[in-house]
Symmetry: C2
Subunit: 598 residues, 2 copies
């Protein structure tokens, strides 16, 4: 989204890139700026790109205070809780003692000689805080406010980011067509909105697992992912230190954080799905809600009756949450406890404003299984649960597949929108073929762009390591960039106001050989610059009026500029000249060759 | 395409990868095999992947003799001319002295102290050969044979590759809906077919330029590109040694080679477009046709009257060929010599069976310019030229854009098919956004998959270096793999017979934790294996029944396998059990929660 001639930013900072990622200076050419709303404490960050022709282009910015040299950040203290006053001013929440943190929360069931956590320093050292919830259990959700006609500061913040009127944001939330994930215990976030009427959003997954990864790596992956444009981050940790990792991530995250509480609950029963209970699950949800998780994937649509539908699938159940619930249902031969206790769960989520992400536990894991009976049976149940959640004023989005060939993608979004009353669709990919492990960011980026064009509100990224291993820093970046491409391609196809200005600015720079502007406007300036320099490294090449494809004496852009010089008077003059030419050709039969009869 | 239970290959070779790319041994797990046709000299190469469960999967193979350890290849001698007997047996061509090679053919206008070519060793040392052409100028094209009802060995070869009856190939060629590019002077190729009824094909561009690159690099890029799946290669060289580079590429290429003769013609007039003449152009076409170029991009649709239509574009004319012709038209204020001499050009191409690729010289170079007046004016002219070419029995495909946002893609293929009587569409991308230089393989892979699903027959790859520099070896591989993904995703969406068997085989391997099979079936086995090993390097991990995402004790695939064990009787048994469950749920109102009214 560009915003060339809109509001003047409240302040413009030094062009120093202060990211902690060791590449300071590389991204010179853009400044962090702020657009002020109706109150001084409502300052919306934007990325302002300064062009060499004196113009500037304003882009949506997800990178948080880390890219603002005037804001001191310290991962050991966490970010400033910018929503705190907005939350307290509403007067509908209260602080309370909260649930005590237990060793099991970090996956430690037995006393170890080293006293529990692998590394005690790992406990988040920031200021002490008490959790907050809706007074007397009331629903303190953005949905509840929107339905009452209130435009919250969060809504105004998101509206400024989207270049729309705050009332549009309120309306879409009230109608259940959009969500604004914002747990009252995560005051650090810069509010954003997810809905088909707005810019398509991208989620990046991080998370350690039993096999590898550390807390530090996960926090760094979060800041790295948001630097490249991730709008939300899901912490899918499954190993030890889950609670502690999440605390570090939340306190340092400028974007909403999602989780799958079932993963942690399973750790608490040592990986034995059949030992899960509603009580353990519920306790985990409260634990995470108190920490500030903004949205939670809940696989309540995996019902006992649907499990056999997956038995003859090519790849069975591939969702981890889905398979855990299926295993539980099978072991007890009982209906899912998530489905049975769904209303109680709604009450909990409403009191913290945790948004539901109703999980597609039966999503297809291969082209062969796409759009099958199991998948759509679950979707119908998600529709039912969506209606219940709305009754409790819980914001809700619906998760979608998975592996789907191109010709079966549209049915997914159309059915979801119909069954779930236009609740935001949040899809993984979909992957359009199974044959390219190591390139599933691409197999899925294709499907993601298409389904987003057709109405998906948020895309869950897929990295090159999908199916193969855990994404490292490079994979996270590649995944985010690929999905930003898919999302922006969809914004263009949907005709989102302002989306094309970004493309236009870059294409203008390209046509006029403003190489530095082309780099700075790129989704990934560093790599664009690096690729250019690989062929033409010298500094003068950055201002050269040619590029490495054609070389200096033979350049199509240059020839085009000559044409523009010759024919580039006013539009009227050109049309005049053209009309003359057309007449001449028409007089000659408009073609050199006569119509053919054989 | 898989071919599990089809013909038995004529022979199966040693599992040694003899590619000259220095990675021998890495791709163990597949063998080069051959499917014999109706005559012993018609042996169609396939890639046979041997699975650890004893099954095998047969895939389309473009890599040529280089991956067959029983065939000795020597780039200094060139490949065996396997079509030679087929061509001579037809008795409709004759050898002749041919046009003498001149220094200008290699871009050398002035005598240099070093005697011309930068490196005299560069002259191709293979066996001497005389060019061949249709006796008395007759049309010796596959189109002419197809129209006469003849199924040539080339058609049968292509039919076996596609798993269709030879008659289908003949029909599609005769109707002009498919082309089989096969210059009589390029007997080394393994024939292939391009048309919407067949597998979607991928072209890779190579070519040195005035700025960088060498002959050796270009030949290696060609073998490298075909190794990863390029179906044709275009040599877009623009610098010196154009003639010689092309000779090396042609004599060593198992796939059809395309060129843009205008590039070489421009070199002959030292880069001054206005000095081009029909005579120089025609001489260049003959030169290249005698060498064996299988298809040529001809920008005959860039007419004088259309040039002013581009003056107010965001990015003018971005096609090199288009801008050269526009510059010529402007300089002389005359109609394009390509348009005016098109019939004469048809006569030349028909005598060698060079296929037209009617160039889209006015394709949009930015989102802003997509589907504009200039673009579609040219397309209508291409339709007119297509009809003329067919009259001369010249095989013809039509080139397409460019930069096009998703919602404007379908109009391109629909219009092209209508205007050009279903002639094969051959598109560059299209790129679905302008904002991601360094990732344009992805911005365009999205558009490529979509337009191929809707009927495009061949996709011209885009590499990560697009707009920035010349692709190196890694970029060529990334571009080819990305486009093979797009092509295969389209084959699946079109329901191409057999396409899904490949996905199914890989998904089966994934579900059963047959890691080695998963790697060997992957589009890029090397990278898939490398990514897996990065997280779990130990050899036992390759047979482990878990992966790095969940770790050993918590694995969704494993849980799914348990479900299959419990519920995986016959389909009938499962349905029986399921029906019982359904009845129980139906009796309970099919839901736990009652319908909501608020």
């Amino acid at each position: 989204m560009t915003n060339k001639d809109a509001r003047t930013p409240a302040s413009t900072q030094d062009p120093t890139d202060t990211s902690e990622n060791g590449e300071a200076g590389k991204s010179i050419g853009w400044h962090k700026a702020y657009v002020e709303g109706t109150r001084p404490d409502l300052r919306v960050p934007v990325r302002q790109v300064h062009l060499t022709n004196g113009q500037s282009v304003t882009l949506y910015d997800t990178s948080g205070p880390y890219t603002d040299p005037l804001v001191g950040t310290d991962v050991r203290r966490g970010l400033t809780p910018l929503r705190e006053n907005w939350i307290t001013a509403r007067g509908d929440t209260e602080e309370y003692a909260g649930r005590p943190v237990r060793p099991e929360d970090d996956g430690i069931r037995h006393t170890s000689p080293r006293g529990g956590l692998r590394n005690l320093d790992a406990v988040f050292p920031g200021r002490p805080r008490q959790p907050r919830r809706g007074r007397g259990g009331r629903a303190v959700t953005q949905l509840a406010y929107a339905r009452r006609g209130e435009i919250t500061p969060e809504m105004e913040f998101a509206a400024i980011r989207e270049n729309v009127a705050p009332e549009v944001v309120r309306e879409e939330i009230a109608a259940g067509r959009a969500v604004l994930p914002a747990n009252v215990n995560h005051p650090e976030i810069e509010p954003m909105i997810i809905g088909k009427r707005f810019l398509v959003k991208v989620n990046a997954n991080i998370g350690n697992s039993a096999v590898t990864s550390s807390i530090e790596e996960e926090v760094e992956k979060m800041t790295w992912a948001t630097r490249w444009g991730a709008d939300t981050v899901m912490d899918l940790s499954t190993g030890r230190n889950i609670h502690t990792t999440r605390e570090w991530v939340l306190r340092n995250s400028p974007v909403p954080i999602g989780t799958v509480p079932l993963y942690q609950a399973l750790e608490k029963v040592d990986g034995r799905a059949e030992e899960l209970t509603w009580e353990i699950y519920k306790d985990t949800v409260v634990e995470q809600a108190e920490q500030g998780v903004d949205y939670m994937t809940v696989h309540a649509g995996v019902r006992l009756a649907y499990v056999p539908l997956t038995a003859h699938r090519k790849t069975g159940i591939v969702s981890r949450g889905g398979s855990i619930m299926a295993a539980w249902c099978l072991a007890h031969h009982k209906e899912s406890f998530l489905y049975e206790h769904f209303e109680e769960l709604c009450e909990i989520l409403a009191a913290y404003d945790v948004t539901y992400s109703l999980g597609d536990g039966l999503r297809p894991g291969s082209i062969a299984d796409a759009n099958d009976e199991a998948q759509f049976a679950e979707l119908r149940t998600l529709g039912e649960l969506n209606t219940i959640a709305k009754r409790f004023h819980v914001q809700t989005m619906i998760e979608g597949p998975g592996h789907v060939p191109m010709h079966k993608i549209k049915e997914n979004i159309d059915l979801q929108q119909e069954i779930c009353e236009e609740a935001p669709f949040y899809t993984l990919g979909p992957l359009t073929t199974d044959v390219a492990p190591a390139y599933d960011h691409i197999t899925s980026g294709i499907g993601a762009a298409m389904i987003a064009w057709w109405g998906t509100a948020m895309l869950c990224y897929v990295t090159p390591k999908e199916h193969l291993g855990l994404p490292n820093r490079d994979d996270v970046k590649t995944g985010v960039i690929t999905y930003k491409i898919a999302a922006h391609a969809a914004d263009l196809a949907k005709g989102h106001p302002g989306a094309q200005e970004w493309d236009d600015a870059l294409s203008d720079a390209r046509f006029e050989f403003r190489w530095e502007d082309q780099f700075n406007l790129a989704l990934d300036p560093d790599t664009a610059r690096e690729f250019h320099d690989e062929t033409l490294p010298a500094e003068p090449a950055k201002t050269a009026h040619f590029c490495s494809m054609c070389g200096p004496k033979f350049c199509s852009m240059k020839i085009s500029q000559d044409i523009r010089r010759e024919h580039g008077g006013s539009r009227a003059e050109i049309e005049e000249g053209m009309a003359q030419k057309s007449k001449e050709f028409a007089a000659a039969g408009n073609r050199v060759y006569l119509p053919l009869t054989d």
